[in-house]
Symmetry: C2
Subunit: 203 residues, 2 copies
């Protein structure tokens, strides 16, 4: 299969998996969207599970690539992390496919893992954790606390990203635009507030 054909198939599959989840999309629906039969898709990827795996594999690689980019452009780990989170927040404001996909993977993984048994997100999460543990003043922080911190920051960004379609439905697009505009500024407040000083009481 040609590389760009493959990319195209993965693009469509990724969008649909993000929108409806693994169990919510049929291979026939993905194939339909691409203008082929589901058997053509099965021919290329072997099974639905493998197609989904290929989608997640690509996402995981892209995420790691982005992390690498900021860590090459910046030497200060604090600035690295801040730059990464800012970039993530901006991406996420306009493009919610991947946070949605990841969210669904986090939710369904336990169930799927019994059959699939692969942790596509592991390398990405470990890279991020390492990054936090390099923060100045955090070297005394326990591993668990560092991980908790990064997860809270990731959550602050991702939860909103994932909620956008529903929030638009609830509050209407006018008010939603206002919220979306206010989001990055509020987020930088939060990031700066929490990254500014090392842990004081807890840990």
């Amino acid at each position: 299969m040609a590389a760009d054909t493959r990319e195209q198939l993965l693009d469509t599959a990724e969008a649909l998996f993000a929108e409806r989840g693994f169990y919510g999309v049929s291979i026939a629906a993905i194939a339909d969207e691409l203008g082929l039969t589901k058997q053509a898709l099965l021919h290329h990827f072997g099974s639905k599970e493998k197609l989904y795996g290929a989608v997640l594999q690509r996402v995981s690689e892209d995420f790691e690539r982005k992390l690498s980019m900021v860590s090459e452009a910046e030497s200060d780990p604090l600035k690295q992390l801040r730059a990464y989170l800012y970039a993530l927040a901006t991406d996420v404001r306009d493009e919610q496919i991947r946070p949605q996909l990841l969210m669904r993977e986090l939710l369904d993984n336990k169930r799927r893992a019994e059959e699939a048994g692969t942790w596509y997100l592991k390398p990405y999460l470990e890279r991020l954790t390492d990054m936090v543990r390099c923060l100045p003043g955090r070297d005394t922080t326990s591993e668990g606390a560092a991980f908790a911190l990064v997860y809270q920051l990731l959550g602050a960004v991702t939860y909103f990203a994932v909620s956008q379609p529903t929030l638009t439905g609830i509050f209407g697009s006018a008010r939603m635009t206002e919220i979306r505009d206010a989001f990055p500024g509020q987020l930088s407040n939060l990031i700066d507030a929490v990254l500014a000083e090392p842990t004081h009481s807890a840990d």
Copy 2:
């Protein structure tokens, strides 16, 4: 149908919907878990959609009740919000069903809403937003910014809650225990840091 029978049916349905999502559970599976046939369930609730609606309705009411409790126990809005988030974080450490259910609702809602057309979470979210907008020093903050703030805090709690099963799979239960123990302390750092001072640059 007796009230406690109904509660029991909803309990089981809620747990399964949270674990697998609306499209991931069949009414037959829920009925199986309860030891009855799917037709018995359909008899009580009419349709799968209505059963799901009843589950969400109850969650929404419980959430509002919890909000009412903290706002009756405390008069200072800052303390109210802090108390609520702390309680939420503690709940969520041990019991992930509801955050998971809500997360799935946020993800699937747009699709389901075309058929269902009800926003079960709206009252809860509006209560929370009002609470934030009563914060001292936040009265000059725009509505959008206030909402963004509360969503970031909610996200910090919920994202982790939802991730726990998957994270346990990835990192093993020993390391996961360490993370879970560190989480509340880190979260209180974050809450205090971000609620301490009103918005300075953004907005």
